[in-house]
């Protein structure tokens, strides 16, 4: 019955019916009676003192309901936004935590910082009024440049963080690494910039809030990846509305990529103001607001050194990174360049000693936080770039150098020198498979053929590891995380035998409605059309931690399996009663309870019905009803790994890079829906290719303005920028979760930048280019070639 819909089946996405026919329901679609509309006046300056704000003319404009400024929120004692992860610096001191008011009080610190909120009968009227607000600014020196943010004399952004330093953090023992370097036969050095990205979810952030005067209850609809966590933050830290009086609903959400994890000021203000206005308030970001105010991603400046012995074995790795925090600390910003970055620097290799030093710096830019991969793409870019560079310097085959240093299959569980213990993996067969699919052997012939057409062809490897499936709560707590990282699930059967999966995870593109239903269909033998996944509403689902860090199936799916086991255990007792058998003799197979060796059978549906109409039922021993919940806290992270091989052709006349072949072989453990996993890999690779070749968030160093503030200047990857991907997979099941699954949501984006950039560097090596900045845009490539050419040419 469930072979076509169970674990391993390519079930078409249940949610696509509504998404593809335009019947999804997003925050902005909500019909709210008597709604008002909010518009936020934003700072046009990168850094300025607010001398005065005059709202008197604006308040008299047609349709205006209310105007709020930072003074109003301060008077009402609205709390600031929080950073939920305390990172201790190398002296054991907690990171500097400058205040993050929901509305600017006396200073604006980046272009887009929130200055005032106008609530009006229509969005246009709110915008008209915002233009009539007079703000007297006194300009302050600004800095948007990460490389100079910590320099002496750089503009001071928060008094609480002298020298703009949030923390100076380290992992590993420097002396041990120095000793390893002293013995090295070769040291490869690398300087790189991990370019800043803007998430660009298809649906912009939106919030709508309603206050019920009769009950004192608030409802907030938000484009959130984690509605319970958002409610917790708003309740416990920012607004003080008790959790049970605040309902947060994240309905259909059109993509997040991390940017919708965080608690933002707009949703806070909409909720707070709803009770003051006495009418519902709606806000939807315009695309230019998304560019300016969604938390950005990446943005590192790094120097790395790799020590190797004469045979190419890695002896040690040193990494120094400055990470941009932007103008304020976003919700999980501090963890991204530390515990999600430096802990991954072992990669797939046996590098015995590693030292990482990370300095987090403030700049007059939008806050920076987790973005698809969050720290792990940055780590992979460092490792896989320096390994490929070392192979070039040593004239070794890049695949061979990787193989020589892979953690062997018999070494798992493997304790890395950077805190993590990898649970499982087998890396050599992955790279072998990738090499086969990519026809690596035939590459030199393809390179020669390309040369005859005037094109420079190159090939690049990226063998990534990631830690995801966040995560073991005890470890998270030890590292300074402010929350648990378990997940919840409830299986609520109805008397007629169909079932709701209530999950604390949230789907904003991940296909939970299909994947989770497949898990239950497989475990309980329920037809998939009789299964409904319910998520995203604090009033209807159990408390959950939401979706990010490729955790939904590994953690949320495991909770579902635990709940399904409870359903089976209870069902066995009911069935035993109905069959007049001993519970110990009842087995559950293909959706039916049976007594082994007899023809007695009770389908699950019959047991469910008996539980709700308990006329013939062991009421003395068993509660009626069929509704079980479970919480699952993983014992470790999960460790997907893989190898990508990218092949490019560079047009030396124009600097254009074309990706001509792209292979990805991954180990995601067991796979529930291969089609959905392939889709995740495709999307991830495209985002990684976007970072490598196209996307770049640029602030003007003089004015502090966001130059790449629209699609006219921010290059999103398009379908014709990528080839058809060649995928493969290898399976080492995760040993510590019941499904044996690892996460697949971020892998593509984690590995691809290094694969692409290594291919670009390989292509350009024959013309003397050793470094192209990322993204390898036509301009950057052309300038690299031009600069590398002898002046006479």
């Amino acid at each position: 019955m469930t072979a076509q819909t169970g674990i391993g089946a390519r079930v078409k996405r249940k949610e696509d019916q509504r998404f593809l026919t335009g019947t999804g329901r997003y925050v902005d679609d909500l019909p709210l009676a008597r709604a008002t509309y909010a518009h936020f006046l934003r700072s046009p300056h990168a850094h300025a003192k607010i001398k005065s704000i005059d709202t008197s003319a604006a308040a008299k404009m047609p349709g205006v309901v209310a105007i709020f400024t930072g003074k109003d929120t301060a008077d009402a004692k609205v709390g600031g936004l929080i950073c939920g992860w305390v990172v201790k610096d190398k002296h054991g001191q907690p990171h500097k935590a400058p205040p993050h008011p929901v509305m600017a009080l006396d200073t604006v610190r980046y272009v887009g910082d929130t200055v005032a909120m106008v609530v009006a009968n229509s969005h246009d009227e709110a915008k008209d009024a915002a233009e009539a607000i007079k703000v007297d600014y006194e300009m302050l020196p600004a800095n948007v440049d990460l490389a100079t943010a910590l320099d002496k004399g750089a503009p001071q952004i928060h008094a609480e963080a002298p020298g703009n330093l949030i923390y100076d953090w380290e992992l590993g023992v420097k002396a041990d690494v120095d000793a390893a370097f002293a013995k090295a036969a070769h040291v490869t050095k690398l300087d790189l910039v991990n370019n800043r990205l803007i998430p660009n979810a298809m649906e912009p952030r939106a919030a709508a809030a309603e206050y019920d005067k009769g009950t004192g209850n608030y409802t907030l609809w938000s484009t959130s990846q984690n509605p319970h966590v958002l409610r917790l933050i708003l309740s416990a830290f920012v607004l003080g509305i008790p959790e049970h009086k605040l309902r947060v609903i994240a309905p259909d959400v059109g993509g997040g990529f991390g940017s919708k994890i965080f608690c933002y000021n707009e949703e806070t203000m909409v909720t707070w103001a709803a009770s003051r206005v006495g009418r519902p308030i709606k806000w939807t970001a315009e695309r230019s607001e998304s560019f300016q105010t969604d938390a950005h991603g990446r943005d590192h400046v790094t120097h790395a050194e790799l020590a190797l012995d004469k045979d190419g074995k890695f002896l040690g790795l040193k990494v120094e990174t400055i990470a941009n925090m932007g103008a304020y600390l976003s919700t999980f910003s501090t963890a991204v360049p530390t515990y999600l970055y430096a802990t991954l620097l072992a990669g797939q290799y046996t590098t015995p000693v590693i030292y990482a030093n990370v300095k987090a710096a403030l700049t007059n830019t939008a806050p920076v936080d987790a973005y698809r991969g969050a720290g792990r793409p940055e780590a992979t870019f460092v490792i896989e770039s320096i390994v490929s560079k070392a192979a070039k310097e040593l004239k070794m085959d890049p695949a061979e150098l990787r193989r020589k240093n892979f953690i062997p299959a018999n070494a798992f569980p493997y304790q890395t020198p950077v805190a993590l213990q990898y649970d499982s993996g087998n890396y050599p067969p992955i790279i072998d498979e990738a090499i086969k699919i990519a026809d690596y052997k035939g590459f030199e012939a393809r390179r020669a053929e390309a040369k005859s057409r005037g094109k420079l062809r190159g090939i690049g490897f990226s063998s990534y590891i990631e830690a995801c499936g966040l995560g073991p709560s005890r470890v998270i707590g030890q590292l300074g995380g402010g929350v648990g990282q378990w997940e919840s699930a409830e299986l609520r059967f109805n008397p007629t035998g169909n079932v709701q999966i209530l999950t604390g995870a949230h789907s904003h593109g991940q296909s939970h409605e299909t994947t989770f239903a497949q898990v239950v269909s497989d475990k309980l033998g329920v037809p998939i059309e009789n299964i409904e996944v319910v998520h995203g509403d604090t009033a209807t689902t159990p408390f959950g931690m939401g979706s990010y860090g490729s955790r939904s199936l590994a953690v949320g799916g495991s909770a579902i399996v635990k709940a399904a086991d409870k359903i089976i255990a209870k069902g066995k007792k009911i069935a035993a009663h109905l069959m007049e058998a001993s519970v110990a003799d009842v087995v559950f197979e293909g959706g039916t309870f049976k007594v082994a060796g007899t023809d007695k059978a009770v389908p699950l549906g019959q047991a469910v019905f008996a539980a709700y109409v308990p006329h013939n039922y062991p009421l003395e021993e068993l509660e009626p009803g069929m509704d079980e919940n479970a919480f699952y806290d993983p014992s470790n992270f999960v460790y997907p790994a893989g190898t990508q091989i990218c092949e490019v052709e560079v047009d030396p006349d124009t600097g254009e890079v074309e990706i001509v072949n792209f292979t990805a072989v991954d180990d995601f453990g067991n796979i529930v829906n291969p089609m959905i996993v392939e889709g995740q890999v495709h999307g991830g690779i495209v985002q990684g290719v976007g970072q490598a070749l196209l996307e770049n968030a640029v602030y003007d160093k003089e004015t502090g303005q966001l130059v790449s503030g629209s699609y006219m200047d921010y290059t999103m990857p398009r379908a014709d920028d990528v080839p058809s991907f060649k995928l493969g997979n290898k399976v080492t099941p995760c040993p510590h979760n019941p499904l044996g699954v690892k996460g697949c949501g971020e892998a593509g984006a984690i590995a691809a930048p290094a694969a692409v950039m290594n291919a670009v560097h390989d292509a350009l090596a024959p013309v003397g280019v050793s470094h192209v900045p990322m993204p390898a845009t036509p301009l950057n490539v052309w300038q690299a070639i031009h600069g590398a050419r002898p002046a006479a040419e």
């Binding site: 124009t654 770049n696 640029v698 790449s708 699609y711 006219m712 845009t777």
Partner: protein, 265 residues
């Protein structure tokens, strides 16, 4: 966007009358530039006069040695026109690569040429082919039409009714698109007509311009080898995060050579 009065006249005369005497009135053809500008509140016209209701402004006909395209003709119609494809295939190709399908089905040739966006494609074709721009008040030669950044010889209230392109013996357009917007970062239209050889460059400077040195070389020898060493000075060219002036200058040569190769294929 800000409020404005919207008009949709049925005749050219009505349109001209509606625009007359109103300082802040704006004509709208396809609206592909004006509407985004309005949405961003970067323009605040009192009146918008939509030319889409004027039926006889759209259409393509062949008159002797010329292809005459009505000002309100959509890019998609130019791209798919058998007359254009047969007389000046490069022009059909150019129109078929403007923007995306939505833009091509709304945007018009008259709107594009009147707007004279420095990164628009059509001005390169108009200038390279030596087209004649006809308006409600007279005619303009291409050489005296494009005046500078978003500036043309059009007077207030003057509307493009048609553009007449002489048939080309050889012609091709090569565009290096801006990676983000996919407007022309550098676009070069090379044409050999009865009047001679012309090379027009869009995207690289504040307005479309001709490259005389390349024209002279190609007049003698219509081959890419003839212009290989003709360098364009970077002075005065556009510079932004996608391309420096030097890079644009370099691309002019590359695109010109590729256009010549395509025209001689």
């Amino acid at each position: 966007m800000y409020d404005f009065h919207y008009h949709r006249p049925k005749t050219l005369a009505d349109a001209v009358n509606l625009l007359k005497g109103k300082d802040e009135a704006r004509p709208m053809s396809g609206g592909m530039t004006l509407i985004p500008t309005l949405k961003q509140r970067l323009a605040k016209p009192s009146d918008v006069v939509d030319l889409g209701g004027i039926k006889d402004l759209a259409g393509i006909k062949v008159e002797g040695n010329n292809v005459v395209i009505g000002g309100m003709t959509r890019h998609a119609d130019v791209a798919s026109s058998a007359d254009v494809k047969s007389a000046i295939p490069a022009l059909a190709h150019l129109a078929g690569h403007i923007g995306d399908p939505a833009v091509r089905n709304r945007g018009t040739i008259g709107g594009s040429v009147a707007n004279n966006d420095p990164a628009a494609d059509y001005p390169a074709a108009v200038l390279a082919l030596g087209a004649t721009i006809t308006t409600n008040t007279g005619k303009h030669a291409a050489d005296s039409f494009f005046k500078g950044l978003f500036e043309t010889a059009l007077s207030d209230g003057e509307l493009i009714t048609s553009i007449s392109f002489p048939k080309a013996e050889k012609a091709a357009y090569m565009k290096f698109p801006n990676p983000a917007s996919r407007y022309a970062m550098v676009g070069v239209f090379v044409a050999k007509t009865a009047a001679g050889v012309r090379v027009a460059v869009t995207g690289a400077g504040p307005s479309v311009f001709r490259v005389k040195a390349m024209e002279d070389a190609l007049a003698k020898n219509f081959s890419s080898a003839a212009i290989k060493d003709i360098k364009i000075p970077a002075d005065g060219l556009n510079s932004d995060i996608h391309a420096s002036a030097e890079y644009r200058a370099h691309l002019v040569n590359v695109m010109a050579r590729r256009a010549v190769d395509a025209a001689t294929k």
